[in-house]
């Protein structure tokens, strides 16, 4: 079954990627307009390289190879936050932002759901009360499922109460912020975990958590909100770490190996930046070459 789970998606993806490579070579020779002019060809190549690199690392992990993954302090602190809340007899609060599943913020939202899954399982393990608040109505069912699964898989189904554990508040930004703030203060939460896409409401959540002396763990890939989280939270996930957190939460070797693909991307970015600077010293703008679009004729 595991083999089937990997193979179906992978075979489709790899088959299409190989097909694209072969067809692009032939079309270049024949002078056919194969690629859209809306994106530079380099972007497509980089995407291809990253996907293949990530896939190769995943298959290597499947065959037994171990990939060391550095510790993320904020991820390790989640268990401490939940345990501390239990000791204090206070609930754990988690919210995953205001970005919707159907927007460009979807990846961060999914990363937030991954962290929620981890938090729910820890709450089940330690017998903590979890309050997951959300401002996205289309995620109510998923959130309920994740929290339910967390308590059930930890052998504490009696702790699961959908009305208490999962609270849809509103889809309006500041009404959501206000309701989360009220929840944090009225419920006197012991831990405040906020991971996902956040906008101006981020600091409101953090300051409300600070008012009740909650253990705060925050993370987002929205660069404008990261400074607020770094300043106010006890631990913070910075940028891409939220995506890695989802993989760490899964505990799955292949999923963890995929993070190596990000490292290849970082290496590629560093090489391109250094090369760009060196070539610029020689009067050549690398960025012009990278912006080249496939245009025949």
């Amino acid at each position: 079954m595991t083999y089937l789970k990997i193979s179906l998606g992978v075979i489709l993806a790899v088959a299409i990627l190989v097909l694209i490579c072969v067809v692009s070579g032939i079309s270049w020779l024949l002078g056919i307009q194969l690629y859209s002019t809306r994106a530079p060809f380099s972007a497509f190549l980089i995407l291809l390289v990253l996907l293949i690199a990530g896939y190769v690392f995943m298959t290597e992990a499947k065959s037994g190879k171990e990939f060391p993954v550095r510790k993320i302090p904020a991820f390790d602190a989640i268990e401490e936050a939940v345990a501390r809340s239990v000791e204090m007899g206070r609930p754990v609060h988690m919210t995953f932002g205001f970005g919707t599943i159907s927007s460009a913020m979807a990846p961060q939202f999914i990363a937030g759901l991954g962290v929620l899954s981890h938090v729910a399982r820890l709450c089940g393990k330690y017998g903590a009360k979890l309050i997951a608040t959300l401002g996205v109505p289309e995620a109510i069912a998923t959130t309920e499922e994740i929290v339910r699964e967390g308590y059930y898989s930890s052998g504490r189904p009696e702790l699961y109460d959908p009305t208490y554990n999962v609270r849809y508040l509103t889809d309006q930004q500041f009404a959501y912020a206000s309701a989360v703030q009220a929840t944090l203060i009225r419920e006197n939460v012991g831990a405040n975990i906020v991971v996902g896409p956040f906008y101006a409401e981020s600091l409101i959540f953090m300051e409300a958590g600070n008012m009740v002396n909650a253990f705060q763990i925050a993370g987002t890939a929205r660069e404008t909100q990261i400074p607020f989280f770094v300043l106010v939270a006890d631990y913070s996930f910075i940028g891409e770490e939220i995506f890695a957190a989802g993989a760490l939460a899964s505990g799955d070797r292949e999923t963890l190996a995929s993070i190596r693909g990000q490292d290849v991307g970082k290496l590629l970015s560093i090489i391109l930046i250094v090369l760009g600077i060196l070539l610029l010293l020689g009067g050549f703008k690398l960025v012009d070459s990278l912006n080249w679009v496939w245009k025949v004729g």
């Binding site: 993806a13 859209s36 009305t163 009220a182 940028g239």
Partner: protein, 229 residues
């Protein structure tokens, strides 16, 4: 529910959508296919809007359920908050339905849900000021967070404080009166070190998104599916 319905079908839909979106974004076959893709892309976005709209109804019911259960369990302690929420929810839905009814019953009047007079009055005079007030609270939170952040506990905190003071003075008229150099110094901080710090985060987030996409393609990312079976 079976594993196929709960897990495999959603995963297959996501896989197909990712492949089609990436393929049609980068590939060009002919004008007709490009236009068809744009139409299909718009249709998918429309579906998302429609699903979200229906999810809002579920959300409204969820809010109602939550407050009714809390009222029953906690009684008077919870009553003021729940009564206001339930009352306004019912009133707003009532006026919205009235506006919707009028838009069909008397189209010439030009009244719709959002232009229904009572609905509009409540929105403009209750919701909008409360929303603006909530936003304005941010300034006090920024001040208190800054106070905690700028306490000089180590050399890095001192660096943060000095940088923040330069940016603050560069943004205010009094800064220019004290020393005209604050403005160009602020511009340099914002365009050089600030941008240099932001870009790796943006690049990292982009790379993380691509790898998350790979995990979705290979069916290894399952957190969004909820229950594990």
């Amino acid at each position: 529910m079976s594993l196929v319905v709960r897990r495999h079908i959603p995963q297959l839909i996501v896989t197909v959508i990712i492949i089609l979106t990436v393929a049609f974004y980068y590939l060009y076959i002919n004008k007709g296919i490009a236009e068809s893709f744009t139409t299909a892309d718009k249709a998918l976005s429309d579906w998302a809007v429609i699903i979200t709209s229906f999810a809002l109804i579920v959300g409204g019911i969820d809010i109602l359920r939550f407050h009714l259960v809390r009222l029953r369990k906690e009684g008077l302690k919870q009553a003021p908050f729940s009564a206001v929420t339930i009352g306004l929810l019912v009133v707003m839905v009532f006026f919205a339905l009235h506006g919707w009814f009028l838009s069909y019953a008397d189209p010439k009047a030009g009244i719709t849900i959002t232009t229904q007079p009572q609905f509009r009055w409540l929105y403009l005079n209750v919701y909008a000021p409360a929303d603006a007030a909530m936003y304005s609270i941010l300034v006090f939170y920024i001040a208190s967070a800054s106070y905690r952040a700028f306490r000089v506990r180590n050399p890095m905190a001192l660096l943060l404080l000095v940088t923040a003071l330069i940016v603050i003075f560069g943004n205010t008229t009094i800064g220019g009166l004290i020393w005209p150099g604050f403005l160009p110094l602020r511009d340099w901080i914002m365009t050089v070190p600030n941008t240099a710090a932001f870009r790796p985060i943006t690049i990292g987030a982009g790379l993380g998104t691509i790898i998350l996409g790979l995990r979705l393609l290979t069916w290894r990312e399952v957190s969004w599916l909820g229950r594990r079976e």
